[in-house]
Symmetry: C2
Subunit: 496 residues, 2 copies
Amino acid sequence: MANFQKLTSRSEDYSKWYNELVVKADLAEQSAVRGCMVIKPYGYAIWETIQHELDRRFKEQGVKNAYFPLLIPKSFLSREAEHVEGFAKECAVVTHHRLMNDPNGKGVVVDPNAKLEEELIIRPTSETIIWSTYKNWISSYRDLPILCNQWCNVMRWEMRTRLFLRTAEFLWQEGHTAHATKEEAEDYARKMLDVYADFVENVMAIPVVKGVKSPNERFAGALNTYCIEAMMQDGKALQAGTSHFLGQNFAKSFDVQFLSKENKYEYVWATSWGVSTRLMGALIMTHSDDNGLVLPPHLAPIQIVLVPIYKTEEQLNAILDRMNPVLDNLKKAGVRIKVDTTDKYTPGYKFADYELKGVPVRLAMGGRDLENGTIEVARRDTLTKETVTLDGIEEKLLSLLEEIQKNCYDKALRYRIANTRECNSYEEFKEEIKKGGFLLCHWDGTPETEERIKEETKATIRCIPLEALPGYKEEPGVCMVTGKPSPRRVVFAIAY
Amino acid sequence: MANFQKLTSRSEDYSKWYNELVVKADLAEQSAVRGCMVIKPYGYAIWETIQHELDRRFKEQGVKNAYFPLLIPKSFLSREAEHVEGFAKECAVVTHHRLMNDPNGKGVVVDPNAKLEEELIIRPTSETIIWSTYKNWISSYRDLPILCNQWCNVMRWEMRTRLFLRTAEFLWQEGHTAHATKEEAEDYARKMLDVYADFVENVMAIPVVKGVKSPNERFAGALNTYCIEAMMQDGKALQAGTSHFLGQNFAKSFDVQFLSKENKYEYVWATSWGVSTRLMGALIMTHSDDNGLVLPPHLAPIQIVLVPIYKTEEQLNAILDRMNPVLDNLKKAGVRIKVDTTDKYTPGYKFADYELKGVPVRLAMGGRDLENGTIEVARRDTLTKETVTLDGIEEKLLSLLEEIQKNCYDKALRYRIANTRECNSYEEFKEEIKKGGFLLCHWDGTPETEERIKEETKATIRCIPLEALPGYKEEPGVCMVTGKPSPRRVVFAIAY
């Protein structure tokens, strides 16, 4: 159970608040392996809901799950030049396949006779192994499209890691599709971005800006990277998901051609798209407060918890007899409910624990409530509580859950709107960026200008928005740095 | 789509039949990485049903999912002596964390400056990393029991691999529980064996013998290994799942103690239990025939497929108009249905493909059926078909699915019973074992005798059954090899 030493407050040290919260709320912890985390049962239950909701949406788009090998031959990674350039510096490399007893009697050592002919890389992403496989699956237009996804672990040997946000090993899904035409592939990459945005906004209650990455921020090997960007409570941006249009790059690297309806050999067009356990970081940093986690109901492993307050077994049973039919009906309506009858902890301890863990609605019922036909209903998002009559309690609770879901989203959107502004000169920009938030600025479209801004201010272009943000108009202008023409404003921010 | 070159028959070459079937039915294939497979969408869909059904059963037992690191420090593996002895010879070892451009311009090479201080092993199983984590989770009896499971990939560098049956990388679940008492841990290991047996028999339609492993066949580090053993159509045994009582071995290796209710420090008691994608091999080899896969309905990704036979769009629409209400009702009843209206392939091609893929029920409807109010219903398990009236078709199909499920199980059980027999002398045993099947024999309980039998006949003790097999009595006797006393017969077989 949790440790109730007070959390560092967000205003005191946002970063410390985050690190403490992840551990105290039993979401995850550092493991004995550098940069790799243990996802604890409560954190994993949230991830399972994320998986379940996304998987359903993928399948509605015709996607099928499959599984490809963890290990990638080093030579595969090298086939696509930009791709290997992007990942080579953070690869975990398998070089041997056996241990042996140390001849000097010091435990076990790597057996030098078990060296692999070719080193194998733990997948940092699977484009190369998947396109080497697709080569055998595709010969005719009849075999297209292929719409595969895999849920798996990947590894990128990052030097500075933080739980969920940046870990050497992380869990994710990666979709990889193959199409007969450029248009179909581009449409599919866009469609999956919409699937991500729908999920993140409606289930995770996190408002996002849909956009396109500038060339500097593109995925290694992509022609175009679409993304959704969210704003955290410290004003920093967090990339919540990406969908790449890969053109024919990987098809050419792995020689994947198909015979078209017109009987001509053509290279296949590709997309890939992924979200990861990083979404857990976005979830925590968007909604939570100085008392702990705040979970939007659609994603909460426990949506409603009932804590009976009792002295005798008889009292407990009377409370349960009264409440069980109510809870059963809510369960039938799909609500995730827990009744905490354990006597290991006091009600006060339990209240604090469920608050820390972000359970959206906490019900408490004691002897007097039972007499009066009332129950105490506490909301996690507003930290308010009221005693209400049991008449029509089921409908009240169902609509309360939806109200909390909406409130989580609205609050996050208000914060983002309040911290988004236009900025027209580079001098102004350099001051404004220190305050955090999204800055909408004109940019001349060159990597050089973006690079200069990054070096001087640490801000990057989070995306070129697909449409103007609410309350803003899309209009041309001149680059705030070089004065050259700009077709539209782009979103700058300091990013995670 | 599938390749209809005729399958090698089981009688001609069972092993070749299996290998061909796995590939032709689009279940899995070899990847470019030695010993690692690609699980194709159709195979993965079966695995997803396995996962879903097992996961639900685990959660009913109070189990929660979590995630632990892929990589294990070499020193952790060494802490439990038997454990490292069991796994050292098949470990994939990560030694470096970066690639670099070859100074000689030959692509990328491992960066010699990025050597890890301590080598990391890709988990062959996770007892060590999990018990090093549990140490931080457990301090008092209040923290117990811990009932965690993870769904993940593991790696054992096997020299000879076969799709699903023995692959270097495989997918599995591994449950790891921690308990305050020996009794509770032993009970839990037994309970999970029952969960596995229930799932394998009722969902996979594979009869199993529940038993205990002899010391030679125990998991490395366990005090007791419970198992379920199935018989394949070639008379060989396949271990379908194991549940280990680990005693205090791992708690002692990682110093995991708890303060008991009596205020005394005690070492924690452990279990672990797992099933893997090997179950896919058991599924294929138990039910399938020379025409392809046969899937028990409870596990089939598509339970009923409708192939409309039509010449014009109008005919197709008339068939769909008639059948859609029927199919919608079946879907509401939870049946997994596909309607194959693609015009890329002929009906004959589709029939052959669904037969190869083991779809339990195939419906065909053409213009004449529509006029007559009939439909053709083909059963995959018996390869029979009949034209039936559409009156009450929903109920007929629902009960047909259950009949097929039962028939799959019954047929496998009949086969096992027909190939199980007692054997009382070692001379007889040496002859009988060549015919395959389960031989019920008395054994003196010593590793030496078991070892000798294995060397001379390749047969091993699959298990000491928890109760006598149906039709047999549990009674003492004398060892067929040494003549020493034996409390009960054990199951010998040649095993996968």
